[in-house]
């Protein structure tokens, strides 16, 4: 029986400023599974995720994106976000004057204060307390009162992005190199956080990464490899150590020979 996948990409061609970056990519993401999207630098991984999120500079020249079987090409970013698609930015822009904790409360219903304003006589409401506890879990308590993304270090950006995306409780999340620039301790925190999401099984996770640690820790179900804007390989967990050892070039050429 054919189950409609949560997200299906059909022969997607994407160009930026007139130059084509994705040259016809077809792949699927099923509900509840964990995917790795791998590939050498500049192979189009981020482009794929951003085009799915609907960022307007990514021009879809042909193909389709189906979400629960329906095309979402006409939906804007906000609409896609509200459908349950989330993207953790590689380099999120700074938003001066918008406090990180206020912003989270604004975008996540879970943390929104349900009490009337002024009710707490200067004390934080219980939702805020919960929020601060959750910050603590990802080691970003120090960011609470800072302006969103303003001067966040590389590692802080990653964890703040992950925090936001998780808090939105999406159906599918694209994590664009959630592990790059993290120290060992942060890597563990992030790994554990992602693992617990995986175990709940309610969210499809797509991880773009260059490191095996997170992917192996998460036990990804499917590995997609992009190269030159094309899907060149589909595999699974077993491929990751081989890939790490041989590198993309050798791995892919040996695969071609074998085929």
């Amino acid at each position: 029986m054919y189950m409609t996948p949560l997200l299906e990409i059909q022969d997607l061609k994407v160009s930026i400023d007139g130059s084509q970056i994705l040259n016809g990519v077809s792949l699927q993401f099923e509900a509840g599974k964990v995917y790795a999207v791998l590939g050498p630098n500049a192979s189009g991984k981020s482009t794929l995720a951003k085009a799915i999120m609907g960022l307007p500079e990514f021009n879809i020249t042909s193909g389709d994106i189906l979400y629960n079987g329906e095309s979402i090409l006409d939906d804007n970013i906000t609409e896609r976000a509200n459908m349950g698609i989330a993207y953790a930015f590689q380099i999120p822009p700074a938003i001066p004057g918008v406090r990180f904790d206020d912003f989270i409360c604004r975008i996540c219903p879970e943390y929104q204060c349900k009490e009337p304003e002024g009710h707490f006589m200067g004390k934080a409401c219980s939702c805020r307390m919960e929020l601060y506890d959750d910050f603590e879990r990802l080691g970003i308590s120090n960011l609470a009162y800072r302006d969103l993304n303003e001067g966040f270090s590389g590692g802080e950006q990653k964890r703040s992005e992950l925090f936001q995306v998780l808090a939105m409780q999406p159906q599918i999340m694209f994590l664009d190199e959630p592990d790059s620039g993290l120290d060992y301790d942060s890597l563990k925190l992030v790994g554990r956080e992602l693992k617990s999401i995986r175990e709940k099984g309610t969210t499809t996770m797509v991880v773009i990464s260059h490191h095996r640690y997170i992917l192996e820790f998460l036990e990804v179900d499917v590995v997609y490899i992009l190269q030159g804007g094309r899907l060149v390989y589909t595999g699974d967990m077993e491929d990751i150590p081989v890939l790490a050892e041989k590198g993309y070039e050798r791995f892919l050429s040996e695969m071609k020979e074998a085929a």
């Binding site: 307007p56 918008v98 939105m168």
Partner: protein
């Protein structure tokens, strides 16, 4: 300077055009008046609504003193009974009471600066005198409000504010006109004196209308270890405003910060500046403006830092956000160092709301309008670290209110 010398100088400058801003024909306006004292309970209901819009509390809750002037007609001046060490009175009364006060008159601001200062001196005037006595820390703000209601009329005030040695003084002031007033002019001379080890903050919210021209002439002199913080928000339409407050840091380690927020609407022209003259060792400061231009508004944001002795340090930021194709923002930063080892820096940006910021916020579920408004609110947020939280809130609330109406 004697009174007759002042008049002479003013007479000589009577036709001197200002360096900036559209020239105004002063003969089109009626000057003068003889303000009478009034009590808080004599303020009419309409006037109450008006002054409350710029943060003036007619119940006088949470303030240490109040001053309100309606055209050049009636004046309210009050100090909280239990408040020691504070003086709030009409300048006319203060000049009679204190002989020494004439030394402060036209000292920070020169009477012959231009035709506006000259005319202010030549016509009869009133205004406020606010003073914190030596060592008095007056934590609750003094509120002042200048209201202009008459048509074809010029309201000319002369204010003198003094924080004596070791004192602390916070002023929150609003200026307002009812939306129905036609063609009128506000000339406000304000002289600030911050003595050794004193702190003064001045928080001002302007609410004028499209028929009003405003030409404030303000200057401050800050002495050793003194701190002067001015925060200014103009959020309403106006015909034109041109203001360029100048602060002289004359004492060792004196510090000044000038913040302004301009939210330009309609066909208004705002020429807003701030100048710091760093004349003493260890003096420092900031001039920061955030401007937002919508509709057909035009904003000129000037800033001027002058380092006169070695080792002084100051920063200038003019950031503008254009929200309309037919609006205009010009940033004019000037850094002028005439000594070695002066550290002056500036940042000037004028731009639209960034697409990357918008897309990012939309990816978190906000609509385009919500995202724009969040970016604008964040941009305009003034964070003056030396401002008491209550005054910060005054500015924040005024800004929020405007944005809610505007966006």
């Amino acid at each position: 300077m004697t009174s007759s010398e002042r008049k002479e100088q003013a007479e000589a400058a009577k036709d001197r055009k200002a360096t900036y801003g559209a020239d105004i024909d002063l003969d089109e306006y009626q000057f003068g008046g003889n303000p009478q004292k009034m009590a808080a309970d004599q303020i009419s209901e309409d006037d109450k609504d008006l002054v409350e819009e710029v943060g003036f509390r007619t119940d006088q809750k949470g303030v240490s003193g109040s001053f309100a002037q309606f055209d050049n007609e009636s004046i309210l001046a009050d100090v909280l009974m239990s408040q020691e060490g504070l003086e709030v009175m009409p300048i006319s009364q203060a000049l009679t009471k204190y002989d020494w006060l004439s030394d402060y008159l036209w000292n920070a601001v020169s009477v012959d600066t231009d035709k506006y200062t000259a005319r202010s001196e030549l016509e009869s005037y009133d205004g406020y005198f606010i003073r914190a006595l030596p060592g008095q820390k007056i934590r609750m703000p003094v509120q002042t409000c200048l209201v202009m209601k008459k048509k074809q009329f010029a309201q000319n005030v002369h204010n003198i504010l003094i924080a004596e040695e070791g004192s602390e003084l916070h002023i929150v002031t609003g200026c307002a006109t009812p939306s129905t007033v036609e063609q009128s002019l506000h000339l406000g001379v304000s002289e600030f004196y911050v003595k050794k080890d004193a702190r003064m903050t001045f928080t001002m919210v302007h609410k004028w209308n499209e028929a009003v021209d405003v030409r404030p002439r303000s200057a401050a002199i800050v002495q050793e270890n003194g701190v002067f913080v001015s925060s200014y928000a103009i959020l309403s339409p106006i015909k034109s405003i041109q203001t360029y407050p100048k602060v002289r840091l004359v004492g060792k380690n004196a510090r000044a910060e000038l913040y302004s927020v301009v939210y330009g609407t309609k066909d208004s022209v705002y020429d807003i500046g701030g100048s710091l003259m760093l004349e003493a060792e260890g003096s420092s400061g900031k001039v920061i403006s955030r401007t937002i231009a919508t509709e057909n508004s035009e904003i000129i944001a000037r800033g001027d830092l002058q380092g006169r002795v070695a080792g002084v340090k100051a920063r200038l930021e003019c950031n503008g956000l254009l929200l309309s194709k037919s609006a205009k923002i010009v940033a004019v930063p000037v850094l002028d160092a005439s000594a070695e080892g002066v550290e002056l820096s500036h940042e000037a940006t004028v731009g639209k709301v960034g697409a990357d910021q918008l897309n990012y916020l939309m990816s978190r579920g906000l609509t385009e309008d919500e995202a724009t408004s969040l970016i604008v609110r964040g941009f305009i947020k003034l964070q003056a670290p030396d401002l008491p939280p209550a005054l910060q809130r005054t500015i924040d609330e005024a800004v929020q209110l405007t944005l809610e109406q505007g966006l």
